[in-house]
């Protein structure tokens, strides 16, 4: 057997009532790969990402994380989620907890790690995103960029094998985008497997091993960022790139 895929999506379909959002998505992500997903609004990028850790229940198709089938209801989804980090557009920090406690909560309750050890991991994690001085601060006192970095630290603390990013810089003021992208670049260069929904072309060119263009609920085109951005084959891709440039 060749190197086993980190994430494998097979013929994924997802409908919300009568609305079919995903119409057969196939995608394989190797260990260490950084895959950037682009596409117009409503094309199903978030839905696909959310199916990977089953925040959204797929209508049909199969998804694997390493050896485990996410879509099999016999697998312990919480165990898989602890291995799949997710960062959201709206940060979703827990507002009643300090930055440090945000990072510690799942370590304590899901991984059942002792308080001292969890605290240690949390402080290291916050230092990694440059926020060790904000450990005892509540989210409301942090800027958007800082909040998002805490959210990344919170996901990383679980020691995930793959990270999902859903437009994590879209809600940020332009001057705060960079600090978050820098953290993500560092992660990518450190060998983290990442699925990143973003429209940050610079980021994609810099670190993505692959760019995937989605529209109408299917993957229309994929390749290296250079191939997809500079020499798109698909008409929809061309049209989309023309719009966002």
């Amino acid at each position: 057997m060749t190197e086993q895929a980190m994430v494998r999506i097979e013929d994924l379909h997802k409908s919300f009532g009568a609305l079919e959002v995903l119409k057969g998505v196939d995608l394989e992500v190797a260990r260490g790969e950084v895959v950037v997903i682009l596409g117009p609004s409503g094309s199903g990028k978030s839905t696909m990402l959310r199916c990977v850790n089953r925040l959204e229940e797929p209508t049909s198709g199969r998804i694997f994380i390493e050896n485990d089938e996410v879509t099999d209801h016999k697998t312990n989804i919480n165990e898989i989620r602890a291995r799949v980090g997710m960062v959201f557009q709206s940060f979703n920090l827990f507002p009643h907890l300090t930055a440090k406690s945000n990072v510690m909560l799942a370590l304590r309750k899901v991984k059942k790690i002792s308080k001292e050890e969890a605290e240690q991991i949390a402080l290291e994690g916050l230092a990694r995103v440059g926020l060790d001085d904000k450990a005892d601060v509540y989210p409301i006192m942090l800027s958007g960029g800082q909040q998002q970095r805490v959210a990344i630290a919170r996901a990383l603390a679980m020691d995930p094998h793959v990270m999902l990013f859903d437009e994590v810089t879209s809600a940020l003021d332009p001057e705060l985008v960079r600090e978050v992208l820098d953290v993500m670049k560092g992660l990518a260069k450190g060998g983290m497997t990442m699925l990143v929904v973003t429209h940050e072309m610079g980021f994609a060119r810099d670190v993505a091993s692959r760019a995937v263009f989605m529209d109408e609920g299917v993957i229309q085109e994929q390749g290296t960022p250079e191939e997809v951005f500079d020499n798109p084959q698909n008409e929809r891709t061309k049209d989309f790139l023309g719009h966002i440039r």
């Binding site: 850790n53 925040l55 919480n78 165990e79 898989i80 989620r81 602890a82 799949v84 980090g85 997710m86 959201f88 709206s90 979703n92 920090l93 827990f94 507002p95 009643h96 909560l105 799942a106 309750k109 899901v110 409301i140 006192m141 959210a151 919170r154 996901a155 679980m158």
Partner: protein
């Protein structure tokens, strides 16, 4: 002192409505009534919490067999007067319970709870819990639903079970947000205990009414009002304080802290220049 009281009693209005002598003489009975009202309030409210939480989760259920009864219960209770509910529950309870007469006249039924017979007390509590449970259910439901969906998703994405997410993420935020409203419900419930005078429970209002009927003087009611205020005034202030604090924590502004910091800065500047 005696002179002052004599003078006050000589004013007709004061004598009829707030006679110091009569209020003073009413105090022991009013105090008994206050204890009875407080017992009803505390036991009733504490039992309303789980009732309300259950009804709230039932109403949020996707399953209509669970949701519809809860919706009906909440709408029915909130849409009808408490007095009617008390009359129905208080006098309906014995009709439903087999062996009620034996219980009521037996040793357990005669146990006194803050001066109320157990046989009366349980019926009053049933009425309070059924009533307050419906109001609390709506408070809980609105509170839980006011927490953004992203909170649950973030917790779940970290591997927490739904129960863990509820316990460590959703409920703590909900409680913080609805604490003032929950306390307002507590205050309302305390005032509502007065309605039990209609079924002959010797709570504060019925005690006052009994003395009033004997003396043809309104002062016992004013005395009773004093007892109600003893609880409702400080609690009301506390609610206002919590609401203000909540507004700060949700907007992220901490006016007191900032003022404090400014003052210290100014003091330091003065020191430096001196």
């Amino acid at each position: 002192m005696e002179g002052i009281i004599e003078y006050l009693e000589s004013i007709k209005f004061v004598h009829l409505f707030m006679s110091p002598t009569i209020i003073w003489q009413s105090l022991p009975l009013l105090w008994k009534g206050f204890q009875a009202a407080a017992a009803l309030l505390i036991v009733g409210y504490l039992l309303s919490l789980p009732a309300g939480l259950t009804a709230a989760f039932m109403k949020m259920s996707k399953n209509p067999i669970v949701r519809i009864p809860a919706t009906f219960y909440i709408d029915f209770i909130r849409g009808t007067p408490l007095l009617v509910q008390i009359l129905v529950i208080y006098f309906g309870f014995p009709l439903l319970m087999p062996g009620w007469r034996e219980f009521a006249t037996g040793p357990i039924g005669q146990i006194s709870v803050a001066g109320i017979d157990m046989s009366q007390f349980v019926r009053a509590i049933a009425a309070l819990v059924i009533n307050s449970g419906a109001y609390l259910a709506e408070i809980f439901r609105a509170g839980i639903q006011s927490i953004s969906k992203g909170q649950l998703e973030a917790a779940r994405s970290l591997g927490m079970t739904t129960m863990q997410a509820m316990a460590y993420v959703i409920i703590p935020q909900t409680v913080r947000r609805i604490l003032p409203t929950m306390m307002s419900e507590f205050i309302l419930l305390f005032k509502d205990t007065a309605l039990f005078f209609a079924v002959g429970i010797f709570e504060l209002t019925l005690q006052a009414r009994t003395i009033q009927a004997r003396t043809f003087n309104m002062s016992p009611y004013i005395g009773a009002a004093g007892f109600y205020l003893m609880l409702t005034l400080p609690l009301g202030r506390l609610v206002a304080y919590l609401e203000a604090k909540l507004a700060v924590s949700e907007t992220g502004r901490e006016p007191e802290n900032r003022q404090e910091r400014k003052r210290r800065k100014a003091a330091r500047a003065k020191e430096a220049s001196a």
